[in-house]
Symmetry: C2
Subunit: 149 residues, 2 copies
């Protein structure tokens, strides 16, 4: 789908605050709210807008620690191993990457004990993975709300 500058302005606003009323989006970009509504619908249908999510503070819901886990997969066992990862509730993201690791995983856990259990019982020792490295997040210095559009 081809996006013009008006679409991009709408995306910028909804990326920053997904609950901005269409009437206010319309006011800010100087168009009618029916137009905004129509464009948002088309961008939703085209998959440009993939969803609207509340961002929840991890600590408030009991996740005290997060980490990046780099993994190497055994030849020929990738599918199985990846499916296993995606099924773990603590696993937030699973990316295939070039470079040092075949798979980069982002996980959240209650505390370091829970992280240890997750790693030893459910990730590192799992069939299909060789070698892993856990990089615990000490702090997040910067996190953008979305993409620069």
């Amino acid at each position: 789908m081809e996006l013009d500058e008006t679409d991009k302005q709408i995306l910028r606003i909804l990326q920053e605050d997904a609950r901005t009323p269409f009437s206010e989006v319309a006011r800010r970009i100087d168009m009618s709210s029916a137009t905004v509504h129509d464009r948002v619908n088309r961008m939703e249908e085209a998959g440009v807008i993939q969803g609207y999510h509340a961002s929840v503070d991890a600590r408030s819901v009991g996740y005290g620690v997060s980490a990046f886990v780099g993994l190497r997969t055994d030849q020929g066992r990738e599918e199985e191993a990846l499916a296993h990862l995606a099924g773990l509730p603590e696993v937030k993201e699973v990316h295939l990457t070039t470079g040092q690791w075949d798979v980069m995983v982002r996980v959240h856990a209650e505390d370091t004990d829970a992280l240890r259990e997750l790693m030893f019982d459910h990730i590192a020792d799992t069939e299909g993975f060789a070698r892993s490295q856990t990089m615990i997040v000490l702090g997040t210095d910067y996190e953008a709300d979305g993409l620069p559009i």
Copy 2:
């Protein structure tokens, strides 16, 4: 702030779809929408809900490639180097980590040429950083909408 099961149910719903009308949230958890509204307000004020964001497809807005960049910082130059990173539009997240890297960065770029330029001109060669490794994301196998609550 202490969260009860009702709060968590609300969070689960809004994490998945931040634009779910409070009236429907109320119906699903079998409470009045005024109660939902009140609880959401309190969670927003307490910082449990940090915001609502539209999730935009990176490809649709011209970002064809993303990567994780691991960096090591020079002793005593961390502040400066981190501030520099946060100021780059392509930089989505900056995390301090234990393990192999001091800093883990998530970046988005238009294409591999743009990524190369970003790395050489703005990240790897920047004062304050020693050694870096770029792990290009070949694909994202799994990405959860939010935390398991």
